[in-house]
């Protein structure tokens, strides 16, 4: 009981402290961010939201509150707690939070909510979705050009439309180079598919046996096994979400970056400047929401020719000359995936 009291007191203090600080800086925002299962330092999706939130604090001096989800049951509770405590905006990353968001947001019409990677159609919710197919197209193009065997492959996490969209964009990019075979595989159909590096490695090995020499992993924690198997076999891997090039320098062609940090930063900033807009916000190549990573770890692997081609494709997509098909619009992919 004493422990509980201490906990409550501490929470109250921290809350009050955060609020006081926000007021003292005169900003309109009192932001809060919720990290999805997988944890704040997952070197991927959640860590990107953390980076965005930290950048906001560094720029404005306004602190934010945060919560790391430990189980599905906490989704609604966490949202409600932050809204009740007067936090604005409340940002949550992860498609699994849509149901909780749709339940909680109508109860707090004056609070601005942001959900990343999913659409919740409510007047006070901004839904940030990424055009993963555009970024995947670019890394697919690089994969197609880097491949010597003419076969590239994809390993996805859980079999959901979001991940199919990565695969479809990747295949479209690879096939734009010429006669390239694309092999695709999903790790599984439930949540464990995000955390099964052993299986990811096995899938990659069988793809390598089938001739693949570039593999793109869009599979959360499973990707670690995929990229390691690629490095062990001496072929190229492509990372996802964050810049993962550092993991196996020399065997990482590039990473498909999804700028979740920008989405979080923009949300915080917009509320702070009184410019918040609800509705769907699509972050594609034009908005710098997706892209391919180029750093000291992979610059020797990307030839001038490849760089020219990928930059031309990027410009063409932004200009609308190349339209990359979004798998989610009709649940089909226009190109063949073996």
């Amino acid at each position: 009981m004493k422990l509980l009291k201490t906990l409550i007191a501490t929470t109250a203090l921290v809350g009050a402290g955060a609020m006081a600080m926000a007021e003292s800086h005169g900003g309109a925002a009192n932001p809060a961010v919720i990290f999805d299962l997988g944890g704040k330092f997952d070197k991927s999706f959640n860590e990107m939201s953390y980076t965005g939130a930290e950048r906001f604090t560094a720029d404005t001096g306004i602190t934010y509150r945060e919560f790391e989800l430990q189980s599905d049951a906490q989704r609604e509770q966490a949202l409600r707690r932050f809204a009740q405590a007067g936090n604005n905006p409340v940002v949550v990353a992860g498609f699994s939070n849509a149901t909780a968001m749709a339940t909680v947001a109508p109860d707090f019409p004056d609070t601005d909510f942001v959900i990343i990677d999913m659409v919740v159609d409510l007047p006070n919710v901004r839904s940030v979705v990424f055009a993963e197919q555009e970024g995947s197209y670019l890394v697919g193009l690089l994969a197609g050009m880097a491949s010597e065997s003419g076969t590239v492959s994809f390993v996805g996490g859980m079999d959901i439309p979001l991940i199919q969209n990565f695969q479809c964009g990747y295949a479209q990019g690879a096939k734009s180079v010429g006669d390239i075979t694309v092999i695709g595989a999903m790790t599984g159909t439930d949540g464990s598919a995000w955390n099964n590096p052993v299986k990811g490695g096995e899938i990659t090995m069988s793809q390598i046996e089938n001739g693949s020499d570039v593999v793109f992993a869009a599979a959360g924690g499973t990707g670690r096994g995929v990229l390691q198997a690629a490095a062990d076999a001496g072929i190229m891997g492509i990372g996802v979400d964050a810049n993962q090039n550092y993991m196996h320098p020399g065997n990482m062609l590039t990473s498909m970056m999804k700028r979740v940090d920008n989405a979080v930063y923009d949300a915080f900033n917009d509320v702070n400047n009184g410019e918040f807009t609800a509705g769907i916000q699509v972050m594609g190549l034009a908005e710098d929401g997706v892209g391919y990573a180029l750093d000291e770890h992979n610059e020797s692997l990307i030839t001038d020719e490849m760089r020219a081609a990928v930059d031309a494709a990027r410009a063409a997509i932004i200009a609308g000359e190349i339209v990359v098909h979004d798998y989610r619009t009709d649940n089909t992919c226009p190109v063949e995936i073996n």
């Binding site: 944890g39 330092f41 997952d42 955390n195 099964n196 590096p197 490695g201 096995e202 069988s206 670690r224």
Partner: protein, 338 residues
């Protein structure tokens, strides 16, 4: 046809062996425990904690001193293996204490072990490495490398025999070979030693064993120590012997439960356990290689392959293919009559 045999079937079998090893070790671990009359659904948790200990200690042992490591070089992987066995045995002893000494419910204790392992691994991992519960990517000397058996290279070109020797038998890591040795060893212990006879007896009729003046408690504790060691090997294989190259949250992904299914499928016999886990490993390999399996008259989705181990277990339990009778005293705490 020859091409299919040499390429696809051999590669599938190779993958099947790799998939089967953690299942085989966990299955044998369960065999010792259940044959001694202690149900153990905590195999998953013990494997998980072993995988974590292996990944964490191998990483720390191999790290340079300025990062707080021990600079043990090629010995790191053995430190990891030792840590895995110790961690898993500690968990096994918790289970033993709850179900033998305290005469608690063995199923509940097993479930508790699973939850405890899922939580504690991520908690400690985050505290030590700050990577969202993952351990650092393991490098050379921190992982088990494939062993090339003698004459593998020179026999490579001999048809069939050479192919089988080079592709299937050679080129695995040491735990794989160890796993098959343990099958033989288990058979010998179980059917040819006094300890094995007593252990089997204590699972069927502990009262009779007690009457003969042999300590039931001691026998059961010994069996569970062996269970702990074998689960430790299984977990160490996952993080040190596969492409995962380290620990990731929940990386066992249900393998402990498939091992239990295999144990029932094998009717609690060691040689059959090897057959069952190799079969399950083969099913997984097929599911990994062919996302959909076209048999000509019907197209099977990959998920079917993943579900098959469970379906087969249910079929066996339902008594369609022989009868699976568990050790008679399993699940019952032994109370000495006064």
């Amino acid at each position: 046809m020859m091409d299919f045999l040499t390429n696809d079937l051999l590669l599938l079998s190779d993958s099947a062996v790799r998939n089967a090893i953690p299942l085989l070790l966990a299955c044998l671990a369960g065999l010792y425990s259940e044959r001694a009359g202690i149900f153990d659904i905590g195999l998953e948790g013990k494997m998980l904690v072993a995988a974590f200990a292996a990944g964490a200690f191998s990483a720390i042992a191999g790290m340079p001193a300025y990062d707080g490591g021990w600079e043990m070089g090629a010995w790191s992987v053995w430190i990891g293996l030792g840590a895995a066995i110790i961690a898993s045995t500690i968990f096994s002893m918790i289970h033993a204490f709850a179900s033998i000494t305290l005469r608690g419910n063995q199923l509940i204790s097993g479930v508790a072990i699973n939850f405890f392992a899922a939580g504690i691994t991520v908690l400690i991992g985050q505290h030590w490495f700050r990577m969202g519960g993952q351990t650092p990517q393991l490098r050379e000397g921190q992982r088990f490398e494939p062993i090339s058996l003698p004459f593998a290279e020179s026999l490579k070109d001999v048809p069939i025999v050479g192919d089988i020797y080079y592709q299937l038998i050679s080129g695995h890591n040491i735990i794989v070979y160890f796993g098959f040795i343990i099958v033989a060893l288990t058979w010998w212990v179980l059917y040819r030693t006094r300890f094995g006879l007593r252990m089997r007896a204590v699972g069927e009729n502990p009262g009779a064993v007690d009457t003969a003046g042999i300590s039931v408690v001691k026998l059961r504790y010994s069996a569970l120590i062996i269970t702990g060691i074998l689960c430790g090997l299984a977990g160490a294989y996952l993080s040190l012997g596969t492409a995962a190259a380290g620990f990731g949250k929940d990386m066992t992904a249900g393998r402990g439960f498939i091992a239990l299914a295999a144990l029932i499928f094998a009717k609690w016999k060691p040689i059959s356990a090897m057959g069952a886990t190799l079969l399950f490993g083969m099913l997984e390999a097929i599911g990994n290689k062919y996302q959909t399996l076209d048999l000509g008259f019907v197209v099977l989705p990959g998920q079917f392959m993943q579900a098959l181990p469970y379906i087969l277990t249910v079929v066996i339990l339902a008594g369609f293919v022989g009868k699976a009778i568990p050790p008679k005293a399993g699940g019952e705490p032994y109370v000495k009559e006064r």
